[in-house]
Amino acid sequence: MNTWIERQRGLLDTTVANLRRRKARNLGLFMAYVLLVFLLASVVLFGDGMRREARLLLEVAPELVVQRLTAGRHDLMPAQWLERIAGLRGVAAVEGRLWGYHHDAAVGANLTLQVPKEAAPAAGRVHLGATLARLRGLAPGDVLSLRDHAGQPHAFVVEALLDSRSELVSADLVLLCEADFRAFFGIGAGLYTDAALRVVNPLETRTVAEKVLARLPATRVISREEMRRTYDAVFNWRQGLPLMVLSVLLAAFALLAWDKASGLSAEERREIGILKALGWDSGDVLAMKLWEGALLSVLAFLLGYTLAWLHVYYAGAPLFEPVLKGWSVLYPRFALAPEVDISRIVSLALLTVLPYVAATLVPVWRAATLDPDEVMRE
């Protein structure tokens, strides 16, 4: 046992001495490796954090939303429909939601105007999302002037700002009272944007949804589960945003590994031949290279992961901001739910460490099984 440990330590000594030999080359390789892991881990951490955050925030969203469809398009829902839905068994409550978009030419942003279920502002007053308030430089007491559907300016007094810790769901929100909303958009009293349902038994949400569809075929029913899955899909690391970044990264990784796997330099082959001639077993040569690959990749992985953590949770993931932002003017400031999952770390490690180590071992194995004489003669 002691001999085994001493031998492995000796092999590790030689590995480190070997890595020190070509400092610039190995350092470059290491940095590239760290960068790859950093980007990969950033994508995964960001995606996971985002999914978790969305899931936790939308846990309290309406259980079902019913939209009216006219010729395949979302249309305003008459109040009578709400009553028909309310009459279904299993429906605890129905509320007509009022929300709509307004393009604010002053800042070039789309605003979401919405009437809250409860605690609506008084007439002529609004509550503003913190991102919007920051962009327009508005504080409570200031006036937000918007042109209504008829081109008439409406001046709303900013009553309060929504808590800035809720920016992820409220960046562009303008909350106002029902009367103001209807007047602003010119929507008659009997119409709603859509309907939000609460069900008696959450386990029967699907049954209720089917009943709604049966009674009102010209509708689309969206469950809370679907809302959650929408964001799961966007931030799932196997699709959507992360996949785009990921595919590029994996391609880069494949290149790195391919470069390694495609063969050893004549110098490296000669050195393996020398070692074998000096009494190194093929297994010793492989063990040394295994140490080399493991050391490089484990260090690079841990360093890259830590940097990714700092990037996503302390720097606010600046690398992804442009992608998420797209053309939108309003971009919320938000913090993510920390999502550190050991199994995720392990799968990330397997994704990066294993192929690299395997790629380094294959050509070495080929050279290490040759006669030392043959290798040295080349």
């Binding site: 330590r9 000796g10 590790l12 000594d13 030689t14 590995t15 480190v16 936790l56 925030l57 939308l58 846990e59 309290v60 969203a61 309406p62 395949g72 398009r73 509320e95 978009y101 789309n110 979401t112 919405q114 809250p116 279920k117 409860e118 999302g129 991102t131 810790r165 992820l168 769901v169 409220s170 960046a171 562009d172 929100l173 909350l175 859509d194 939000a196 969206i222 469950s223 679907e226 809302m227 964001y231 899909a233 966007v234 699709q239 959507g240 260090l299 841990l302 360093l303 992961y305 830590t306 992608v323 998420l324 797209g326 053309w327 939108s328 003017v329 309003l330 920390p338 550190v340 770390i345």
Partner: protein, 101 residues
């Protein structure tokens, strides 16, 4: 000789590994600390979601079908023009809400 003298290559390697494992440990500790803080902060967002009846994140507000991804028409992206496959960057990231399986 000390067990992990950095003068031997293996000692140096052990120190480096220990250091980077410590980094990972710090990340894990930091994550659990941050989780509590985030739960407190998130209460504000959740309160707003419940109060207003919100259904979506205000993350992509460049187009109406990206602002409320879960509420968007399935064919919203084609509405403006039959040939307009995609117009806004966020639209290429997000698919439409999928029906329950």
């Amino acid at each position: 000789m000390a067990l992990f003298s950095a003068r031997r290559g293996s000692g140096l390697a052990a120190w480096l590994l220990a250091g980077s494992l410590a980094c990972l440990l710090l990340v894990l500790v930091d994550a659990s600390r941050m989780a509590e803080e985030r739960t407190r902060e998130r209460a504000h967002g959740r309160a707003l979601v419940a109060r207003v009846g919100l259904t979506d994140l205000a993350l992509f507000n460049e187009a109406r079908y990206t602002r409320h991804l879960s509420q968007a028409d399935r064919h919203a992206a084609f509405q403006d023009h039959p040939g307009a496959l995609e117009h806004f960057p966020a639209g290429s990231l997000a698919g439409p809400a999928r029906p329950s399986p």
